[in-house]
């Protein structure tokens, strides 16, 4: 391209520049995202047979899904279901009524809209509502007496429980650091560190910390006479340890994003509200929260997307145990793959994809867009 003029290739490249800029990215995504998604769907509908010198794949239709959802692997994916008690039944009914009310409100408000848009919105909401109510029933019945949660329920607990705790903690810390305090730089750096640590390392660190006999908290456990308590053998204790590790790592992310949002909030708004005699709660509810709500919605969306992929922590921290109590869907799929159940592994992956996509798009359309005032 130097000297007398562009070479032949130089001119060719310039002519197709617009295409050359974008196609590498498109091809990379096609090869590592679109093609695998389609191929994975095919795998989920087939069975791996080992034959001398290799393997063959045979079409089995929906049998992999059937086995996971209704058949011999149901206890692993969904869990063991038990009849609901009166309290759980009431809770579910309440949720169902709320969902129905929400749907009715959507229809009532959308009277004037074009029928096609209304239909699309209704279909999306029906899908989200059906999935929500089904999953709620599943969570309730696997946690009822005699039930046992499977990897789908465990993943939901990690995602919803973890993201909620991380959001509340991160919000609280951001509000504190945004006050007129000394050493903001110090806190910002220190609170940021956990985000950098490899999850595998976090898993081992928390295994050490949670050791009731030899860990740093051993004197406290001993004081309560719990030094023999094996949290790794108790399903809920093990799940909570996994969630503590996850929260330790990801609270900083929420904290940093919300702090950045708080720092860009105009000072005079807050001053004006304060002069009008607004208390701290009113200030938060009517001034601060509306200002940071769009960022909060995006942060939660990003966390939801990433949280569904959790695998390192349960794999290293508890090996998925006791039994499969701490297994996430990703870990479930990995274990199925390791035991040569290729079709089952792909089917678990697809169920994860479905739940993650419906949850994230529902959140985007039903919550995030409202928070951004669209």
């Amino acid at each position: 391209m130097r000297g007398t003029g562009p070479s032949f290739f130089g001119r060719l490249a310039e002519r197709w520049a617009d295409q050359i800029l974008i196609w590498p990215a498109v091809l990379l995504l096609l090869a590592f995202s679109i093609f695998p998604t389609i191929a994975s769907a095919t795998l989920a509908l087939s069975r791996l047979d080992l034959v001398p010198g290799g393997f063959t794949l045979g079409w089995v239709g929906l049998r992999n899904f059937e086995r996971l959802l209704f058949g011999s692997r149901q206890d692993h994916l969904l869990g063991t279901m038990a009849p609901l008690g009166p309290l759980a039944r009431g809770l579910w009914l309440l949720a169902a009524l709320l969902v129905l009310a929400g749907l009715a409100r959507f229809l009532w408000r959308g009277r004037g809209r074009p029928p096609l848009a209304l239909l699309a919105g209704l279909l999306g909401r029906l899908l989200a509502a059906a999935l929500f109510l089904a999953l709620l029933a599943l969570v309730l019945s696997t946690n009822a007496r005699g039930g046992f949660p499977g990897s789908l329920v465990t993943t939901l607990v990690y995602v919803l429980g973890g993201v909620t705790i991380q959001f509340l903690l991160g919000l609280g810390l951001a509000l504190l650091v945004a006050r007129p305090i000394e050493g903001r730089r110090f806190f910002r750096v220190v609170f940021f560190l956990p985000l950098m640590v490899t999850p595998v390392g976090i898993a081992y660190a928390f295994r050490m910390l949670a050791d009731t006999g030899k860990g740093p908290l051993a004197p406290i456990w001993r004081a309560f006479g719990l030094q023999e308590f094996a949290w790794a053998a108790d399903p809920w204790a093990a799940r909570i340890v996994v969630m503590i590790g996850d929260t330790w790592q990801w609270t900083p992310f929420v904290f940093l994003a919300l702090l950045a949002a708080l720092e860009t909030q105009p000072k005079d708004q807050v001053e004006a509200a304060r002069l009008d005699g607004a208390g701290p709660l009113q200030l938060f509810r009517f001034v601060t929260w509306p200002a940071i709500a769009p960022v909060a919605a995006t942060v939660v969306l990003i966390r939801l997307i990433e949280a569904f992929k959790i695998v390192d922590l349960p794999n290293v921290l508890t090996n998925g145990g006791p039994g499969f109590a701490t297994e996430s869907l990703t870990l479930h799929a990995f274990i199925a793959w390791r035991t040569q159940d290729l079709g089952g592994s792909a089917a678990v992956g697809y169920i994860l994809l479905f739940v993650a996509v419906v949850t994230c798009t529902s959140f985007l359309n039903l919550v995030a867009k409202g928070a951004r005032g669209r």
């Binding site: 640590v197 490899t198 081992y204 660190a205 006999g213 995006t298 990003i302 794999n315 951004r372």
Partner: protein, 349 residues
């Protein structure tokens, strides 16, 4: 009674408007100090465990080196001297894979992000649908019917071109830049475990399993959506006038990108580079599938410690320190930069 009430009032009233009351300040610093401790203590514990003898760990907790116990370098010696290459090789693998994949993702992603802010693309919806349909047909034919993949691909390509020529003009629905951007970013939602089985088989066919190349390309693809998302925001802030004047002077598109736009966006590039580098450095699941021995990365080495001889915390801690130290140093030095990488998209909302 009145004295107590007066004290309480003094404690809870701010000295100046907008300031904090003494009690509020005390509680704020208490909470922040507590969380600082929560953040730092696990890191501290790993660090001191790497200097402990097995006896220090097994006989219950000791907390402060030189006070509670005499630190020892035995674990470090074991990892560096006795294991030597077994530690060094995964470490180098991680360095190579993280750096190369980040560079690749950044190059490909920022070019695409730039193009999406400057060029108006129009993709026919019919072409996209047709392409996906044919891709699905090819996959089914290859995986289940055993058709050779080159044959299926050639037939599909011919069909695609033929059908596009024949039908292309009939359908007028088009996708624009926003749709392409949304598509690229939404790839991040795909759980890696869904994509990794076919990727594994693909690399197996190509004989590239357990190589650097497989990991580099896969990581680049997985992190590409983040690069596109963040870099697009940076490019959008660069005024178009500068490029226009260069264009009038006769500079070509690539010349403009390389000599004007990328230098102007270097703050964004640095932030994105650091963020993606850290994600690639810590990645676990894909490495678990795609590398076994030769290309094994650090997270696998650390995770694998468990299986061999039960938890030997002192050795494990050394490895974790080795993995964490560089990123923590990086984080302290470049905190604002990295945080920006994390936040650009989020804060924009």
């Amino acid at each position: 009674m009145t004295a107590e009430a007066g004290l309480w009032k003094r404690l809870t009233t701010p000295r100046e408007l907008g300031g904090m009351s003494p009690l509020g300040a005390f509680l704020t610093y208490l909470a922040l100090g507590l969380w600082s401790f929560v953040c730092l203590f696990p890191l501290y514990w790993i660090l001191i465990t790497s200097f402990k003898l097995p006896l220090h760990v097994n006989d219950g907790p000791v907390y402060v080196p030189f006070v509670d116990f005499t630190p020892s370098l035995h674990a470090w010696e074991y990892i560096f001297v006795d294991l030597g290459n077994d530690t060094l090789r995964p470490y180098l693998n991680s360095v190579v894979v993280a750096l190369a994949s980040t560079a690749l993702a950044l190059l490909v992603g920022s070019l695409a992000a730039y193009a999406l802010t400057r060029v108006r693309y129009r993709v026919s919806l019919a072409a996209v649908g047709l392409f996906l349909l044919l891709l699905a047909a090819v996959v089914v034919a290859v995986v289940l019917a055993g058709v050779p993949w080159w044959l299926a691909a050639a037939v599909a390509l011919a069909l695609l071109i033929f059908l596009l020529r024949a039908l292309g003009q009939r359908f007028r629905r088009h996708l624009g830049n926003e749709d392409i951007l949304f598509w690229m970013i939404s790839n991040r939602i795909l759980p890696p475990v869904v994509a990794v089985l076919p990727i594994y088989m693909m690399f197996q066919k190509l004989g590239l399993l357990d190589t650097h190349l497989a990991l580099i390309v896969t990581y680049a693809a997985v992190n590409l959506p983040i690069v596109v998302w963040l870099m697009r925001d940076f490019f959008a802030t660069i005024p178009y006038e500068i490029e226009e004047s260069a264009q009038i002077d006769g500079a070509g598109r690539f010349r403009i990108v390389l000599t004007i736009v990328l230098p102007l966006a270097r703050a964004g590039l640095a932030a994105t580079f650091l963020l993606v580098l850290i994600l690639a450095w810590n990645e676990y699941l894909l490495a678990l599938f795609l590398s076994t021995a030769k290309a094994q990365t650090m997270p696998l080495l650390v995770a694998g410690q468990n299986a061999t001889r039960g938890p030997q915390w002192w050795y494990m801690s050394v490895l974790i320190v080795l993995m964490v130290a560089p990123v923590v140093v990086l984080a302290i030095a470049l905190q604002r930069f990295i945080a920006r990488g994390f936040l650009v998209g989020a804060v924009k909302g």
